[in-house]
């Protein structure tokens, strides 16, 4: 046991590295021509001798997967090796029909890259291609293996192409790790290589974490089963606390693989160093070494879609948007795409940004609208902004008209006309209403006149209410001020 003052001299720093798997958005699997859209399919309905690993079958590389993997490696600023190859990773599990996974080992597709995170470079050690495994289905109420008398195997996911991205241990907090994964997800979505859906498992993340003591690297553990951004942050925070407590009490962290239990909020030991698999990697003899054509690399570089960071810069530079607005709009690729589409159609990036962030997102959330399927709102938004600018409706009415247009898919102008929502700016009409409101609210008038300015807003609200929100607020304000002045 160390004494308190010794402990207090220790400088403890979390050291985190991530391994992220993304499913590539190819139509067919990595080594056969079966389709990849396994979600919701009947079990074992998109399989063939190759992805089932039937005796005698042989893999043939999907060139499209190679292109997407190259695009990812280039977007992560990796060095592309001119010759790469596949290895077999051998282990027994029922969802792995060949009992080996075709993966890459000593010569990955890309190495030594980085991804910038708020100005800090997070090193990318390697990017490589591999095939996915199938899934076990347990016939229990929870769907978990505990208590199952037998398990079934669904091979539909077998052979779906994945890229594995391994970072350097450059991340120093759970929050930073989470932000990194979000940024990486945004990247793969932007360049169209993966849909990055964590819930459906098309983006999966494992972490290696240790605590360095006075700059000396500690023993690391590997954390698995973090299935959401929140889980990444929570699991790593838990693990930092656990390791720190061990170190502070003079103990030693054990090198092992740990399982994050999201419901209990803890990690538990899965297997120790001794039980670690020996994967017996060796070069895959069924595939030839892969020579990477320089021209192909250059073509992929030339046709690289806009990266998230470039898009954010463009919004700031060309549209004058602020950091906060940009961060909301870039929270998903879909929203950013919708924003760009709106601006193309409407112009006025600042107004569009406001409308999307506040009104649209609220309505979309309420109505469970998918952003990808929300392009129909563009003409509505355009019209509403015009109506507002022309003074046909006031701001409040514009918002409710937009909401109704989105929900009922009716033209905003139709709604305005049908409901008679045109703004009333006629002073005489408004003055009549103001007068009657003042006479009905003598208390408020008295309290305003005795110096309580808040009463003004109350009276203003009453007038707006009396006009069903249609009155032009600036006219109301002006008339109300005049009338009150005349009373004093």
């Amino acid at each position: 046991m160390q004494a308190f003052w010794e402990v207090s001299l220790l400088e403890l720093k979390p050291v985190i590295g991530l391994e992220i798997h993304c499913q590539l958005l190819t139509k067919t699997k990595l080594f056969c021509s079966c389709p990849t859209d396994y979600v919701g399919r009947e079990p074992n309905s998109i399989v063939c001798p190759v992805c089932l690993g039937l005796p005698g079958s042989l893999p043939v590389l999907n060139k499209e997967a190679l292109k997407l993997a190259l695009r990812t490696a280039l977007a992560l600023n990796c060095e592309i090796l001119s010759k790469t190859r596949f290895h077999r990773k051998n282990y027994f599990y029922p969802d792995l029909p060949k009992a080996y996974q075709i993966s890459q080992y000593d010569i990955p597709l890309g190495i030594n890259g980085y991804l910038e995170l708020n100005g800090k470079r997070i090193g990318i050690r390697r990017v490589h291609m591999e095939e996915d495994a199938g899934k076990l289905v347990h016939p229990t109420k929870t769907g978990r293996i505990e208590g199952a008398e037998y398990s079934l195997v669904d091979f539909n996911r077998c052979g779906v192409p994945l890229i594995e991205i391994v970072t350097e241990p450059d991340l120093s907090s759970p929050e930073e790790a989470k932000t990194f994964v979000m940024e990486l997800r945004s990247l793969v979505q932007h360049i169209g290589v993966s849909d990055g859906n964590m819930e459906e498992g098309s983006l999966r993340c494992d972490a290696n974490i240790s605590i360095s003591v006075n700059g000396k690297r500690g023993v690391k553990t590997e954390i698995k089963n973090m299935n959401s951004f929140r889980a990444i942050e929570r699991a790593l925070a838990y693990e930092i606390k656990r390791q720190t407590e061990i170190i502070l009490s003079g103990g030693e962290v054990v090198q092992e693989t740990r399982h994050w239990d999201d419901s209990k909020g803890i990690t538990t030991s899965l297997r120790g160093k001794e039980e670690a698999h020996d994967y017996r990697y060796f070069p895959e003899p069924d595939l030839l070494p892969l020579i990477i054509d320089r021209e192909l690399v250059e073509e992929i570089r030339r046709t690289m879609p806009e990266l998230p960071k470039d898009r954010r810069e463009r919004w700031k530079r060309d549209y004058g948007l602020g950091d906060y607005e940009v961060s909301v709009l870039s929270s998903s690729k879909a929203l950013g795409d919708l924003f760009d589409a709106c601006v193309r159609e409407i112009g006025k990036p600042k107004e569009v940004s406001n409308w999307l962030q506040v009104e649209f997102l609220r309505i979309a959330d309420e109505c469970k609208l998918r952003i990808e399927e929300s392009y129909f709102v563009i003409p509505y938004l355009k019209e509403v902004i015009e109506l507002l600018e022309k003074g046909v409706v006031n701001n409040q009415v514009a918002k409710s008209v937009f909401e109704e247009a989105v929900k009922t898919r009716r033209e905003p102008l139709d709604i305005v006309k049908a409901k008679g929502l045109e703004q009333v700016s006629d002073e005489t009409a408004i003055r009549d209403i103001v007068k009657s409101v003042l006479s009905e609210n003598q208390d408020a008038v008295q309290s305003y006149l005795s110096g309580k300015e808040k009463a003004f807003n109350f009276l203003l609200g009453q007038v707006m209410r009396a006009t069903k929100g249609k009155a032009n607020p600036s006219v109301v304000r002006k008339v109300l001020e005049e009338e009150l002045k005349s009373l004093s």
Binding site: L54, R88, F92
Partner: protein, 486 residues
């Protein structure tokens, strides 16, 4: 001579002239099977009814004037090649009940060429062995002497061709599995250049060494069958894109003047059986008579080839055979847990030799041993290949015995794996180098056992191999010798 003892090219002639029909050939072949199969055990599955059905179909296609290179010719398929809807066992209990949903590329190609598949032949389990004794379906016996083995692992195919139980056969050769049984049974066996024939549907033993090869009654048939099975297949990434020559053309020229043949001194040691040494001497004289010059050469890394093979092949096998876990197909022995199921299934499903190689392979790929064994073996493999590259600067072909002895007796070597492995000492280097070689009958021992000679050629020089083999065969008239029906 009975039809079943005739080569395919002759039968084709007879069919073309209208002298016989495909059914006549089947009658003859099945009559022979009836006669000898109980003793020989060449087949695991015999497809008599299916064969006659196919014959009808082929006859109709021939009558329509379709040009079928193997039209109406019976062929036996080593039971390591997938056949759609026909049980494919690899002579292993673990694949009992495995009916592939697809045909191997070579099977597809011989079918398209009009061949009639008459059965699946016996082999050493997963092609691991040199005697066809390691079969879950019992050993195959040598038609020349039933106390002796037919060689292996394609022993069933070799015995069937020699005995007239088929006309043509396909085998697979990982370290000599086509050539050594061909030699033991007095027939022709070709190991093509790695990549010339698609491996799609060949149940893998050692993927970087496996090749499918023709096993035939003479060299001309070998050319005929190779023509059908060779060529690029998009389903096999390791298959080569090559312009195929007309292999039958190779069998027309018998002048070997200007051709240089080397005999490696490392292959002619005192341990060579005297009858084999005599055949080698004779063969040398025949080639000289045909106009070739024969000289001694050296392949200095020969002694390392066999140990290298027994690291690389088991390493790949340990991975290739890991899929037999009882989950998806074949044998499943239930267990209390997943681990138990794996253990029980694989313990009961695999024979001793297969287990031995899986264990060796697992060991040499393990962390801490990989560099010392597997990586080292890959380096030696390159040296073995370099030996051949050097030799082919000096000579055009290399002549060796196919195996150090004629067919040995059943049980003679089965208890001593190393002794058994030595049977392939002359064939294994060819697989390591990825080049091509053919085994043809070179003569007979005093006990009237056939003795094979091996001719090794440069990568993709099958044409040249067939040419000199055909010249030798024509000169010696040895290939016409059959164990029965004379």
């Amino acid at each position: 001579m009975e039809l079943c003892d005739m080569p395919a090219w002759k039968l084709k002639e007879l069919i073309r002239k209208g002298d016989i029909s495909p059914e006549d050939i089947l009658d003859s072949v099945f009559e022979r099977i009836e006669e000898v199969e109980r003793d020989l055990n060449s087949y695991i599955t015999i497809l008599k009814e299916e064969a006659y059905n196919q014959a009808k179909e082929i006859k109709a296609r021939l009558q329509k004037g379709e040009d079928l290179p193997l039209g109406g010719i019976p062929i036996a398929i080593k039971d390591i090649l997938c056949t759609k809807g026909i049980e494919t066992t690899c002579a292993s209990k673990i694949l009992k009940g495995f009916y592939p949903p697809y045909d191997a590329t070579v099977v597809e190609r011989v079918k398209r060429a009009g061949a009639i598949i008459i059965g699946k032949t016996n082999l050493d389990e997963f092609a691991m062995g040199s005697s066809t004794e390691n079969s879950a379906f019992g050993p195959t016996r040598n038609p020349w002497d039933r106390e002796r083995v037919p060689g292996g692992s394609s022993g069933g195919s070799a015995a069937a061709v020699a005995a007239g139980e088929t006309i043509l056969a396909l085998g697979s050769d990982t370290g000599g599995s086509v050539r050594q049984p061909a030699a033991f049974c007095g027939i022709v066996g070709l190991k093509p250049t790695y990549g010339l024939v698609s491996r799609y549907g060949l149940i893998a033993y050692a993927s970087s060494l496996d090749q499918i090869g023709p096993m035939t009654k003479d060299v001309r048939d070998c050319a005929l069958l190779l023509q059908v099975i060779a060529g690029k297949d998009e389903k096999d990434s390791t298959s080569l894109k090559v312009d195929l020559p007309n292999y039958l053309e190779a069998c027309r020229h018998h002048d070997l003047s200007g051709i240089k043949i080397g005999i490696p001194r490392e292959y002619i040691s005192e341990s060579l059986d005297p009858s084999v040494a005599e055949v080698m001497e004779n063969s040398k004289r025949v080639f000289e008579k045909l106009g070739a010059t024969v000289k001694e050469i050296s392949l200095p890394h020969t002694e390392y080839a066999l140990p290298t093979y027994y690291i690389i092949a088991p390493a790949e096998a340990s991975s290739n055979l890991a899929r037999y876990d009882g989950v998806q197909y074949g044998l499943r022995v239930k267990g209390k847990s997943l681990r138990d199921m794996y253990l029980e299934t694989r313990t009961k499903g695999f024979g001793d030799e297969v287990k031995r190689r899986i264990m060796i392979g697992t060991y040499v790929l393990s962390a801490g041993y990989y560099d010392a064994f597997y990586l080292k073996a890959l380096k030696v493999r390159r040296l073995v290949k370099a030996d051949f590259d050097e030799a082919f600067k000096e000579v055009d072909y290399i002549l060796t015995p196919t195996s150090p002895t004629p067919a040995f007796k059943l049980g003679e070597k089965i208890e001593d794996p190393i002794l058994m492995y030595l049977s392939d000492v002359f064939t294994v280097p060819v697989n390591l180098a990825g080049i091509c070689a053919i085994s043809i009958n070179g003569g007979f021992s005093k006990e009237n056992l056939p003795i094979g000679i091996q001719l090794i050629g440069r990568a993709l020089d099958e044409f040249g191999l067939l040419k000199i083999a055909s010249a030798f065969e024509t000169e010696t008239e040895l290939q016409g010798c059959r164990p029965f029906g004379r």
